[in-house]
């Protein structure tokens, strides 16, 4: 090991101990006075079921599946969330959109099955970040309970219900672009307008 003194490192000598430290009692008295003072400070306890906490706007609770402007499930079954999920708790079965239905004419795929195991989820929010169309979002619901493990497997309808329930509340605004499907769909729309289809995107994203 080199005997050179590192320039960037600040060397700190251990403080000299005096008689006060050696007798221990002053330090104990100081500690006791700190704890004693705390006895008269205002309590920080929240009486939970009666008092509910005010959550920060980016709180990550139970998921919801957003609806688009036509009320359809916004998810395009791209599997990005399931791929990103570190807990492997999203189970999606994709299906082709019913093309003959005029309501679904503008869509290619949709999730025939979309199940999130809320017990396995670690509420990391990676799914929300991964979703290209902002279809999946985490809400501020933190006190969800179920009577069985199966009851905590939230399927598509239930997740859509969570959307219906929470989207009207002030705490959980829809964080997506209304109208268009989302940022990714805008890229595609823009790309189509400039008559330079998919290849363009490929170049932009780059390998």
């Amino acid at each position: 090991m080199s005997a050179k003194r590192e320039k960037k490192v600040t060397w700190v000598e251990p403080p000299k101990m005096g008689i006060a430290e050696a007798l221990y009692l002053p330090a104990i008295a100081e500690g006791l006075s700190t704890t004693f003072k705390h006895m008269f400070q205002p309590r920080k306890t929240k009486q939970y079921p009666e008092e509910t906490p005010t959550l920060p706007p980016n709180y990550r609770g139970i998921h919801r599946l957003n609806r688009d402007e036509k009320g359809r499930v916004k998810c395009v079954a791209c599997f990005l969330c399931a791929t990103a999920c570190p807990a492997n708790c999203i189970d999606i079965v994709a299906a082709a959109a019913p093309k003959d239905d005029p309501n679904w004419a503008d869509r290619d795929k949709y999730p025939a099955k979309f199940v999130i195991d809320e017990l396995r989820c670690i509420y990391c929010g990676m799914c929300e970040e991964a979703c290209p169309v902002d279809a999946i979002e985490l809400t501020s619901i933190y006190n969800m309970t179920g009577k069985s493990r199966d009851g905590m497997l939230f399927d598509r309808e239930k997740l859509l219900d969570v959307f219906d329930e929470t989207s009207k509340r002030p705490g959980d605004p829809v964080r997506t672009h209304r109208g268009a499907l989302g940022p990714a769909s805008e890229i595609i729309a823009g790309a189509q307008k400039s008559a330079a289809p998919m290849s363009n995107i490929g170049e932009k994203a780059g390998p």
Binding site: A3, R5, W11, P14, L23, I28, T35, M39, R43
Partner: protein, 391 residues
């Protein structure tokens, strides 16, 4: 015949009944008080759901414990395993046989109700030390019978701790015996009837050593190395649950109460509070007042012990042993020496105070160099890095 027996034994029986009922109830409520105190120190509220202010929490806990399933693990030595908690409770309660829990007078007839089970025991304190150190058996047997390495480690630690702290505990009060000329607790209290005659003024060092060692004996934080969670899971009571587990804690809380009583009786004038109580006042009012004074003082000490618990971090084991062997035993010896000199030269007792303080300060001064040496010793890992990297 029966009436005679009754007349002879009812004071004994009633005193025993008071102790037998009061101590477990107190133990139950000490958990509540402890939780409240801990909460207050941590800016929380503490138990407040069961009953007004959570006062019924202790009752609910007690009920729950009694209704719990009695689990005896298959790998334990069943009989020893079951006896250990009982030994703990019995030995810690036995100490109360000679501890006055209210005002008693050292001489005079012991008729009617009295606040002590066995009055006039001349070897009072020796008896207390003898029986309360028996509670080491509860821990070592519990740890041994559990057939679990963590339990055994906890028990061994506890044993070492008991043996080490028994010495300063006994030696620190020798000074008090020498001053009073008796080991009878009633006489020791009687002797401190005026404020300036409290033993704390003459024996401050002994009081410190006694209190700390007694705390170490009771296995409470900062001395609870025998149940240190980080290293030993639960220590000696890892395999215990339900009522058996609670009996261990009842023993611990009884110990705390005993310590508090002894500290007050030995050093803080017992039921005397000059200006408020008159030691010669025999009326019921006077007795009640003295009882209140005693209980208030004990309450303050109990509160202080709880404050210590939530203030001080746990000792490391070598520090714990070092404190007893390198600190308290020499200190209490020197303190005793001071008492001897003062008594045999017939000096004013305040020389003892001076002597105590000098001994304490000298010990501190010696410790300064030791602390600084330790900080600079090459065996300390932080210093080693510096020594290799910088010098």
């Amino acid at each position: 015949m029966l009436v005679e027996l009754w007349n002879e034994y009812w004071p004994l029986l009633s005193a025993m009944l008071v102790v037998l009922i009061a101590i477990p109830t107190l133990g139950l409520y000490m958990t509540y008080i402890e939780r409240k105190v801990a909460a207050a120190m941590q800016d929380r509220i503490g138990p407040n759901r069961v009953g007004p202010l959570g006062l019924l929490q202790a009752v609910a806990d007690g009920l729950k414990i009694f209704l719990k399933e009695q689990v005896v693990p298959a790998h334990v030595d069943k009989w020893i395993y079951l006896t250990a908690p009982a030994i703990g409770v019995v030995t810690s309660m036995l100490a109360f046989a000679v501890v006055p829990f209210g005002p008693v007078s050292p001489e005079g007839p012991h008729t009617g109700f009295r606040f002590i089970i066995a009055p006039g025991v001349e070897i009072g304190l020796v008896f207390i030390f003898a029986v309360s150190s028996l509670s080491a058996y509860a821990i070592i047997l519990g740890g041994w019978a559990s057939n679990n390495k963590y339990s055994l480690y906890g028990a061994i630690r506890s044993c070492a701790q008991f043996i080490s702290y028994e010495i300063p505990l006994g030696m620190s009060v020798l000074g008090v015996f020498a001053i009073t000329g008796s080991m009878n607790l009633e006489k020791i209290v009687y002797q401190q009837s005026s404020f300036l005659e409290w033993n704390i003024w003459w024996q401050p060092l002994a009081a410190l050593i006694f209190f700390t060692s007694a705390l170490a004996e009771s296995n409470r934080l900062p001395f609870d190395l025998s149940e240190c969670e980080q290293e030993l899971v639960g220590g000696f009571h890892t395999e215990y649950s339900g009522i058996k587990f609670v009996l261990f804690f009842l023993a611990e809380y009884t110990h705390v109460v005993t310590i508090s009583f002894l500290t007050v009786l030995l050093f803080f004038g017992g039921w005397h509070l000059p200006g408020l109580t008159d030691p010669a006042d025999p009326t019921a009012m006077g007795t009640a007042l003295r009882l209140l004074v005693l209980l208030a003082k004990v309450g303050v000490v109990v509160f202080f012990i709880m404050m210590l618990r939530w203030t001080l971090p746990r000792f490391r084991f070598d520090q714990l042993m070092g404190l007893a062997w390198k600190g308290f035993i020499p200190l209490s010896l020197f303190n005793l020496l001071g008492v001897m000199i003062v008594i045999s030269l017939d000096l004013s007792p305040y020389w003892m105070t001076l002597f105590s303080l000098i001994v304490f300060l000298v010990a501190g001064a010696l410790n300064v160099s030791q602390l600084n040496n330790r900080l600079r010793s090459p065996s300390s890992p932080t210093i080693r890095t510096r020594a290799e990297g910088a010098y």
